[in-house]
Structures are given as C-alpha cells and as structure tokens.
C-alpha cells in the first residue's frame, strides 16, 4: 500500500481509521499511524486535508506516549515487586524465572 498513490481524502480516512482503531487498547496501531503518516502530516507541502491528518497524528502520538508511560510503570512495578508479592505475584506471572534472584 503506497500512500503516494492515494487521493488525499482516502489518506485522511485511513489516518482516521487507524486513530480510532487505536482506542481498542492498540497503541501499536497509533505507532504505525504516527510513523506512516508523519511525512504526510509534517513534511509535505500543505494540502487541504493536511490539518486534519496533523491532528490525528498528534493525538495518536499523545495516546502512544500515555500508553508507553503506563506500560513502563507497570512493568517496573511488577519486575521489582514480583518476588515480594508472593502468591499474587505468581498468579500474575506468565513465566517464572528459575533459580534464586
């Protein structure tokens, strides 16, 4: 799928769909949105739909940033306190490392 080929309305629609899709707990979709449409939104010379694409890209970026902070915080908490939580820690764990820490 080459963005160059698409008319601007379709680019906008694609960007919007990716933006809306990201709300289904899909920060990766927001990441793809930001990377893919970055050139369209910020580098290309202005065209009609560019302002809207820009807002979508910015909001996707914001959402992505929020998710990254939330995930990093949770992972840090989990890794640090897992051993201390005892049973709850094991219950939450998908893989438990072997050996003594």
């Amino acid at each position: 799928m080459n963005l160059e080929r698409l008319p601007n309305e379709e680019k906008l629609s694609l960007c919007r769909k990716y933006y809306l899709g990201g709300f289904a707990l899909l920060p990766f979709l927001w990441l793809v949105n930001v990377v893919w449409f970055f050139k369209e939104a910020f580098v290309k010379p202005p065209f009609t739909e560019q302002t809207q694409i820009k807002t979508y890209v910015k909001r996707s970026g914001l959402g992505l940033f929020c998710w990254v902070t939330i995930l990093t915080t949770w992972i840090t908490i989990y890794q640090h306190f897992r051993a201390q939580w005892g049973e709850v820690g094991d219950y939450l764990s998908f893989t438990i490392p072997l050996g003594t820490p």
Partner: protein
C-alpha cells in the same frame, strides 16, 4: 499440541512464484506514432534508461530500433535482491530461534495428526517405510486442501475463503506467537506477567490482521508475512519426525512442480483464474515485493515500494503522455517496475530446510551450505521466470539443491573438514 487443519492451506497455495500482473505500460515516448507493440519492451528499457540518466538530452535522437535490441528479460538483478532479502530474513529468524530457544529442536513424542506413523522403531527399513507413509498422508492432505481451495475460488465462494484465511492467520498471529513469546521468555529466564503479555500479543496480532488483510504500510505487511512464515516453519521443524521431514520436503517440491506446471494442476488453475479475473491473489498467501519508480527532471529516481492495483494505475498513466508538452523529454516521465511475488509456502519450506539443517546438522557449515543452495536455486528460478514470464514453482530447484547440499555436507564435507583439522592439515 496438534496443529489444526486451518494451517494446511497456508502452505499448499503458497508454493508458487508468480510474475506480478503484467499490464501494458503505455509508452512514454513523445512520438505520437509510437506503436503499441513496443509497449512490452518499455519495461525492459526502464533498466537501461535508469543507467544512463545523463543521456536524456540525446534521447530524441535515439532510434526506436534500440528497444528491440533490449534483452527480453523482464526481471533483473534488482528483483532477485528484492526476494533474497525477505527469504534471508525468514531463514535468519528461524535459525536464530532454533539455535537459541531449545524448545523448537527438542525431541517431542507428540506428532501432528498428519504424520501418524512413529519413527521410534530401531529397524531402518521400518523407519523408512513409516516416513514414506507419513509423507503420502501429508501430501494427500495438501492436495485435497489445494483442490478444495481452487474449487472454492472457481465458484467464487470468496466469503468462505476469506473466512478460512482469516481464521488461519488469526491462529498464527495470536496462538503461535503467544507460544513463541513464552518459549523465548523461558529461554532467557525472564519474568513476565499476564497483563503485559496480553497487551503485547493483542497489539501484535491485531495490527498484523489489519496489515495483512486490510491496508497497511507495505514494509510492515512484508515483515508480518515473513514472521508468520518463520513461525509456521518452526512448528513444522518441531512436530515433524526427522526422516519424514526430509521425505516430505522432497515430495512437496515434486508436487509443486506438478501442481504449477501441468495444465490441470491446481495451483496453475488458481493463478490463471486470478489473472483472468484480473484479481490479485489473496494477500495472506503471497509475498509481494512490488516497487514503483518515478523519474522526473528535477528529482533523481525516487523509488517507493508499493503494492499496486494496475488498472487504476493505467487509466491515470495513459492520460500522462498526452498532456505532456513536446519539451524536454525526461520531464514527468513515469516508469513502472513490477515486482515479483513469491508464495508464502516457499518461504516456509525454505526455512524448514535450513532450520532442520541448523537443528540436526553438524554445525554451521551445513546450515550455511543449505542457505547458499537455496539462494542459488531461487536465483535460477527467477532467471527462468524472466525467460518464461509465467508462474513457476519456486520450490523444486531450491529444495533439490538444498537437499543435495545438506546430505553431502553432513556426510562428506563435515567429516572431511574435521579430519583435516584433527590432523592440522590445511588446504
């Protein structure tokens, strides 16, 4: 764990090497009386044009006969490279996983239901017989699934096929990657909680489904296709019994040859029907490396990878030559290069071969030998594709070379090298 039925069609339709759709590229020469018969040559002239960008001003003087002198090869080195890279990446992923994650090269007592005969017998003859029987069952399952798919396609049961493909890619993207992630974490002794894993797998799978079955950046789609081929290959490497795997590889390359080249072969019918109806073959089955080139006076050649719909292209392009002024010739010229498409089954079986060489072969010699053999085979296949210009099976040549190299390296070269090193004899 038994792999489910929905895996089957993943690889049976995917063993084909197809030239991408072959539209008439409109001539971009300014001469209005340029005959349409030379349109098919305009693609090949694209190569030579790009190699002499400075010669633009003399182009007006270029006689038209030069086009006929161009080689009738439709694909060149660029296309070979465009396929080498994904095939290499797939094999690298598989070999890296095999070498690091022990799970995929552990012996397992479980077998797929498609290979019911066990290979645990001490008798060589019995073992050989069992592997041949396993192969027969596996190949017949593949044949049946292929024919089923072609029949469904012919009778336009698109919904059913789409549903089938979606189900199988769902399983690959979610379940198999979940297992893979689990095994990687266990290997590196990393603690991971369900929450993070759920988020990771959900994101990976959902974006994969969107990219493969709907619209997404080409690079990401290619990456996902490579990854799911690698996953599938790993499943095969784990669950196929050793001797059966080699016999199956040999048998499936013969089947591929038959299915694509014989007039009533199912794969050939699939490709022909798709071409008749001017539809692309389902994206979940084929890896496409299409590219588009644009040459203008001001900017140097700017290539962007694209998966194109040729018909919409052409109607836009045909308008181009007419509205161009008879000024400098290189202004606003558009050239199109069609990429090559390779079925995902080819990726899978190449990776199975190299992966098994890495898992059970001696050491890196064998693995590298198989890798080189497969790439040579792919090169030759692309050469044949450029000459014959129709869908060709990509498995036979590569797998044959791969098998020859594997067995000869494992049984001849390896002991030879070891002996030389033992006796400190350098040649």
């Amino acid at each position: 764990m038994n792999a489910s039925d929905s895996d089957e069609e993943l690889y049976n339709e995917r063993s084909a090497l197809v030239p991408s759709e072959n539209p008439e590229v409109p001539s971009y020469r300014p001469d209005p009386d340029h005959s349409p018969t030379e349109d098919s040559d305009s693609k090949t002239t694209g190569f030579s044009r790009r190699t002499r960008p400075g010669g633009g001003s003399e182009r007006e003087a270029e006689p038209e006969e030069e086009e006929e002198e161009e080689l009738p090869l439709k694909y060149g080195a660029k296309h070979v490279i465009m396929l080498f890279i994904p095939v290499t990446l797939c094999m690298v992923v598989v070999v890296a996983t095999i070498k690091s994650v022990g799970f995929y090269s552990e012996k397992t007592t479980q077998q797929l239901i498609y290979t019911p005969f066990t290979e645990d017998t001490p008798d060589v003859g019995r073992r050989l017989l069992n592997s041949v029987l396993n192969t027969v069952i596996m190949i017949s399952v593949i044949v049946v699934m292929t024919i089923l798919l072609v029949v469904l396609y012919k009778y336009r049961c698109y919904k059913f096929i789409h549903g089938w493909l979606i189900l199988s890619s769902l399983m690959l993207l979610f379940w198999f990657s979940f297992m893979y992630l689990g095994e990687v974490f266990k290997t590196y002794n990393v603690a991971m909680d369900y929450v993070t894993v759920a988020v990771l797998i959900w994101n990976f799978g959902a974006v994969g489904m969107v990219c493969i079955h709907w619209k997404g950046p080409l690079a990401l789609q290619q990456a996902y296709l490579i990854f799911i081929s690698a996953l599938m290959a790993l499943v095969f490497i784990k669950y196929l019994p050793p001797w059966s795997a080699w016999v199956i590889l040999a048998a499936i390359s013969v089947y591929d040859l038959v299915a694509v080249l014989s007039p009533k072969g199912p794969l050939r019918m699939l490709v022909e029907t798709a071409q008749e109806r001017n539809e692309p073959i389902f994206p979940a089955l084929i890896y496409s490396s299409a590219m588009m080139w644009t040459v203008t006076m001001a900017n140097p050649a700017d290539d962007q990878p694209s998966e194109t719909d040729e018909e919409a292209e052409l109607s836009g392009r045909r308008a181009e030559p007419q509205r161009r002024q008879p000024g400098p010739i290189l202004e606003d010229e558009l050239e199109e290069e069609r990429g090559v498409k390779l079925g995902l089954g080819d990726f899978i079986f190449y990776s199975v071969l190299v992966g098994k060489a890495a898992a059970t072969g001696g050491d890196w010699n064998t693995t590298l030998a198989c890798f080189v053999a497969i790439l040579i085979g792919l090169c030759l296949t692309l050469l044949l594709l450029a000459i014959f210009k129709k869908a060709l099976p990509a498995l036979p040549i590569s797998i044959t070379f791969g098998l020859i190299f594997y067995f000869s390296t494992d049984f001849l070269v390896q002991p030879f090298m070891d002996n030389l090193v033992n006796h400190q004899f350098y040649i």
